[in-house]
């Protein structure tokens, strides 16, 4: 993402904030929609577009779970492992997906083909649909079982890449 593209996104929003620093997080989220994570160049572009230093921008970026500063898969699949989901089989769903994608049970990770990142999530606010899974930040679904979760990942793998990555 270039600084000009980021500026163009921010411009109509600028008047909504008394301090332009508030634009840093929206800029990071927008910059991330290009690739699904932020490269060093993306971070520098955010810095240029917002007028803050690259190190400041990075210090904000690294605070948030959903701003990725390392490469992730084409789709990020978040498995909620908080209490309500745990009671409804989240650990079993988590282990099934980790095994299917060949990543370890402790940290999750990205499949060898780079298509799917499996990560743990804390309560996603869909406890009524436990055990639930979120695909990027756009769609949360459930209740899932190990089988339905594996089927979901198969579907995602076959689906075309999204135009924008909102995570």
């Amino acid at each position: 993402m270039t600084a000009d593209q980021i500026r163009e996104y921010l411009e109509p929003r600028r008047h909504e904030f008394a301090d332009p620093r508030s634009l840093v997080l929206p800029a990071l989220k927008f910059a991330q929609t290009g690739r699904g994570y932020l490269t060093r160049e993306d971070m520098e572009a955010v810095a240029e577009a917002t007028g803050y230093s690259a190190s400041y921008v990075e210090s904000v970026a690294t605070f948030y779970d959903r701003v990725y500063t390392e490469p992730v898969g084409t789709r990020v699949v978040s498995v909620c492992v908080s209490m309500s989901c745990q009671l409804r089989g989240a650990d079993q769903v988590w282990e099934a997906l980790c095994d299917k994608e060949g990543v370890d049970h402790h940290h999750g990770g990205t499949s060898a083909d780079g298509r799917i990142t499996v990560q743990e999530a804390q309560c996603l606010g869909y406890c009524d649909r436990a055990a639930c899974i979120q695909v990027d930040a756009e769609e949360t679904q459930g209740p899932h079982t190990p089988d339905s979760a594996r089927a979901l990942v198969d579907e995602l793998r076959a689906a075309p890449d999204p135009d924008e990555y909102w995570r």
């Binding site: 909504e16 779970d65 089989g89 804390q122 009524d128 769609e139």
Partner: protein
């Protein structure tokens, strides 16, 4: 007692109200023109106060009283901030309001804005609610186009607009001062209080921060009157509250009840469909994961602020997590502590280190690796964490562990002896 779906209109209507026409047809946007034509801001604040509405985000502070704390003579612009970070495990009521009734929230924020003389409202919504954020974006655009946001609302001199601001995955940003930091474009870490946000909040300006459910209650309060609202429920817990029931129940979901009229037993067994046949209630975290658990002996407690406090817990966010006797108190407590360890922002050492130590000790107990001193060490940690941090996140981790130890001593003794095997989860109930 039956449900009372009278405050949150999507419940009364029995269907989503996502367009302005839907919301208007359900009685929406009657309060705002009435207020702008007939009431001055102080009268409106007084109306909020008289309704007795208490904050639904967790702490239960009276909404009207908080609005009255904003200085009247400040030269700085004032703001309303709607806390839509909803990340407390077990809580999913704000999601329903935003997704299915966004305009009631916008009208509520606008009313609050008028009452305090604000120039703008911000909805700080957790990043994981991208879908709901888009619903709000569309609603804001529609309201603007219809002249319900912008300049000179209903030909008055009141100018007001609303900005939807997305978070990016951090439970701590639900804490009001961390939220403000995040909204100001910084790392979302809590501030030292005082000053309170009412005096120096967003951009150091006077700021009213309320939860989604709190603000969405304002339009019906104005329309039907503060007396009507105050007449529901008990003297200290007026009105209705949405409880989110999840865990080992047959019909997980949101249920709006009149405070003080319904017991925990009715909530679980009548509204949420009860448990699987042959199961009994083991533990219930009635107000989200930050509140101390209750046991089967507490099921007849009425659901209101005072009765729940007397039973040793808190109403909190209303996120009621139910566990039956197939579950393990010890394992679930570990899971709860893992959450706080993960979400500790790291600013205060007692919280950052303390939650990590609690998790390690609990993990040892679950794994059957604990020594005889480990439980004592766990208890000794409580006092080194509690009351030594800037915000109550750490307290949310300590309280439930402390109470779980008190209420279920046999489970802990057994765990120390044998560890805790992974219990069989309750799988989806076919629908």
């Amino acid at each position: 007692m039956p449900l009372l779906n009278s405050v949150y209109r999507q419940r009364e209507a029995g269907k989503p109200l996502v367009t302005l026409d839907d919301y208007r047809a359900a009685g929406g946007y009657q309060a705002l023109p009435k207020v702008l034509a007939e009431m001055d801001p102080d009268d409106l604040q007084y109306e909020f106060m008289r309704s007795g509405l208490r904050g639904r985000g967790g702490a239960g502070f009276p909404m009207g009283k908080k609005a009255s704390f904003l200085p009247k003579d400040s030269q700085r612009p004032k703001y309303v901030v709607c806390n839509a970070d909803e990340s407390e495990p077990g809580t999913f009521k704000d999601r329903e309001i935003m997704e299915f009734n966004p305009f009631q929230l916008l009208e509520g924020i606008t009313l609050a804005g008028y009452a305090i003389g604000a120039v703008r409202g911000y909805i700080y919504i957790r990043g994981e609610y991208e879908h709901q954020a888009r619903v709000l974006d569309r609603a804001v655009a529609e309201a603007r186009a219809a002249g319900l946001l912008g300049t000179g609302l209903f030909k008055s001199t009141f100018d007001f607009d609303i900005t939807v601001y997305r978070g990016a995955g951090a439970y701590i940003c639900g804490e009001e001062t961390a939220l403000l930091e995040s909204l100001e474009g910084k790392r979302g870490q809590p501030r030292l209080k005082p000053p309170f946000p009412a005096v120096a909040g967003l951009y150091h300006s006077p700021t009213l921060i309320n939860n989604v459910e709190t603000l969405a209650a304002l339009p019906p309060i104005v329309e039907k009157g503060a007396d009507w609202y105050a007449g529901l429920g008990t003297e200290k817990s007026p009105g209705t509250k949405i409880f989110c029931v999840s865990g080992h129940v047959m019909r997980p979901g949101n249920y709006e009840i009149v405070l003080g009229e319904t017991t925990l037993r009715e909530l679980i067994f009548v509204h949420a469909g009860g448990l699987r046949p042959g199961r009994r209630v083991k533990a219930v975290w009635v107000g989200g994961s930050s509140v101390p658990p209750l046991g089967e002996q507490h099921l007849d407690t009425p659901l209101d602020y005072e009765a729940l406090a007397a039973a040793g817990t808190m109403l909190g966010s209303g996120g009621c997590i139910v566990m039956d006797d197939s579950g393990s108190v010890v394992r679930t407590t570990l899971r709860l502590v893992t959450f706080y360890r993960h979400e500790s922002c790291g600013k205060c050492s007692p919280c950052r280190e303390g939650t990590s130590w609690m998790e390690k000790l609990l993990q040892r107990i679950v794994d059957g690796q604990a020594g005889p001193d480990d439980l004592e060490m766990l208890k000794a940690l409580f006092g080194r964490i509690s009351g030594r941090t800037l915000c109550p996140l750490a307290e949310g981790a300590v309280g439930p562990v402390r109470t779980a130890l008190e209420l279920f001593p046999d489970d802990w003794a057994d765990a120390l002896e044998n560890g805790v095997p992974v219990p069989e989860p309750m799988l989806p109930v076919s629908s």
